[in-house]
């Protein structure tokens, strides 16, 4: 075995290692500059045909909450939806929604068809409020602590593992249970 013949293997090992590390980092932890910062000031109207809009004051009630950014046109949102329904049924933590760049009638129809896990849903037609939240795309999910600060951010659809080991873990930690 000569060095030149081992070199490709060594180089590949470095690449593979980086890929492996990258896999653990990304994309679940796209760092949010807003982590541990107070939530942005905002007031969103309700989705037409559904009561209860969402405003910053609704998230400063001294209660831990989850805010989920969703849209009816978003495929991955459909994937995570049953898990959001599960949280809502358990009543463990209130789930709120921000409906991102969506048509109200589509959003309402979507919630009728797949179930409505949200206590409050703000309609962000032009996506401006979501920009303040640092949203890269949909779906994204935030955990808000008792003081109204962003405690955790999840990018992409929630999978079973994310829900049990990250999101609900964080929620319970913040609730002090």
């Amino acid at each position: 075995m000569r060095l030149t013949h081992i070199l490709p293997l060594v180089l590949f090992a470095v690449v593979a290692l980086a890929l492996g590390i990258g896999l653990t980092l990304n994309p679940r932890i796209i760092p949010s500059a807003l982590i541990d910062k107070p939530i942005p000031e905002f007031t969103l109207p309700p989705v037409d045909g559904r009561p209860n809009g969402l405003a910053a004051s609704d998230l400063r009630t001294g209660e831990v909450a989850i805010v989920n950014i969703f849209a009816s046109w978003c495929g991955p949102c459909r994937v995570e939806h049953p898990l959001l329904m599960e949280i809502a049924r358990s009543g463990e933590v209130p789930v709120h929604g921000i409906n991102y760049k969506d048509l109200p009638r589509n959003a309402v129809a979507w919630l009728k068809q797949y179930g409505d896990p949200y206590q409050r849903v703000g309609s962000d037609r032009d996506g401006h409020v979501s920009i303040d939240w640092g949203v890269y795309g949909v779906p994204e999910t935030f955990v808000i602590d008792r003081e109204g600060r962003i405690a955790y951010k999840h990018v992409g659809p929630i999978m079973r593992d994310d829900l049990d080991n990250k999101i609900l873990k964080k929620v319970r930690e913040l609730q002090g249970k």
Binding site: M1, H5, L9, A13, L23, L25, R28, Q113, Y136, G156
Partner: protein, 664 residues
Amino acid sequence: MIVEIGHYALILALALSLVQGTIPLAGAHLRYDSWVAVARPVAIVQFGFVAVSFAALTYAFVVSDFSVLNVAMNSHSAKPLLYKVSGVWGNHEGSLLLWVLILTLFGATVAVFGGNLPPELRARVLSVQALIGTGFLLFMLLTSNPFERLVPAPADGQGLNPLLQDPGLAFHPPFLYLGYVGFSMAFSFAVAALIEGKVDAAWARWVRPWTLAAWCCLTVGIALGSWWAYYELGWGGFWFWDPVENASFMPWLAGTALLHTAIVVEKRGALRSWTILLAILTFSLSLLGTFLVRSGVLTSVHAFATDPARGVFILAFLILVTGGSLTLFAIRAPTLKGGGLFAPISREGALVLNNLLLTTACATVLLGTLYPLFLDALTGEKVSVGPPYFHATFVPLMVPVIAAAGFGPLMAWKRGDLAGALSRLRVALVFTFAVALATLVFAAKAPLLAVLGTALGTWLVAAALSELAERLKLFRASPGESWRRARHLPRAAYGMTIAHAGAGIVILGVIVSVTWETEHLQVVRVGDTVPIGGYDFTFRGVEDVKGPNYDAVRGIFDVSRDGDPVAVMTPESRVYNTSTMTTTEAAIRPTLTSDLYAVIGDPDGKGGWAARLYHKPLVHWIWLGAILMAIGGVVSLTDRRHRVGAPKRKPVRSNTDTTRPVEA
């Protein structure tokens, strides 16, 4: 029921691929002829099962069976039939199935037409091929089952991403995959050769057509993707150095290098271990591309599924395939004997230069693509390496490649004559200088780099044609003699001329369109006239249009030149019913020397519309050139030596015995 048959067929295919991946390999080692003989029928039947599976999924898409999760997520009953079918591979699970279909198709092809391959080599190749297939089948069945049911079935599907509802993109993935998977053949042959410890001319003669065919498909696939980006994304750009694009470009660069070095193995028996290494790297880069696109490691989440379990699986597979084959390479390659010697200035020398530069270029693209990932892994910092990096690294590497590609074909094997080549290329040289001078003098605001680029593109075309003229003794011998030579010239020679000229045309298209394009972004009102590149665009207003599953606003521009009407251009902005996503449909009017390109945007609320108007000289040469390159490859594939096939090798007793390099 049909869906379950599809699922079941996939499981049977997996079982068969396990058989095919082990028994013939063991048989070839233990010299059990009956085990070796297993490879052929199993490869064919395995393809049959995967085909049944693919047909079942296609059926589910065509009849819009929304009780299948994959169909519900990616299709819609209102979609035109073409896009229902292309929806089969327009998603993660289905594209994997397409990948495996092509993989097993190639395996079956080797089984059916590989009669003149030594049975042991054939058995080993098919086994390696099957092991790759095993990985993909397992991946599909464990993490990405395309046949998963959805209960209760929704009334209608979620629809295909409207950006993807486009003929250019419908055929983009199949061509890319034909390319990626085609390189798996070169890989399988390389690994089989390492196991046998034998690389000879017959081996190279088998590997080269596969590589060539894969390369042609990949060329077409990349060109289709870039063409799609050009007319669908609405920015008039054709290449963005996006990680997903780079993912397909890296195997292309490595494959191009492999294509050239395989010639050296075939004709001169030299560069064997390098060729083997390239075959491994080319396919590994194809796998890496799949990893990057499918794991969501680089692109931020939203385009593709980012179930981390999938990323872990693909990475493990990549480590197994690439790590395993490179380990085998480290052990076996030193035993491969070197071939004929050659002087630095020779055909071999030119091809070595080509290889060094192409692989370096490939490495810079790899580095640029992975650098954000490395940095993130080390420091947690997020960066994005943009086009400036690639322009600063990739472009300078391409300059000597192009310059040398003009000379290379005129070099003799073993020892070339640079002065002789220069004198035979004097017409091309003079022509190139004339074009460069004309560009400098006549073209408005010509930066020196653009002049250099134009000269390089011209040089490659001129040199390729000169080389052909030289071979035919055009204008030097009698027309009859030239005609006789033209008929006897191998098709591979024509293929090379066409492909090299095509590459030159691509370069000209890129340089000229980027340097001399005119762009206007402005709000237009009805009756406004915008002059661009010698044409006048007059805005006539907008109308509402209803498509099969979208609503659109269509802008109308009358285009005239010196007062004579040239065309009516109607760019659209579409909103699809199934999503609120808006897509732009640029209106493109190709003229002989340029493209006129118009995009309509949003209204400003005061009666005006945002519009982007471009004049892009020679831009369609980019795709014309790419198609020519692929045609060159196809012409070369029809060469006599591929049709006739490789001569049989004498049976060899010992594994370490290498055959002598064969002079061709």
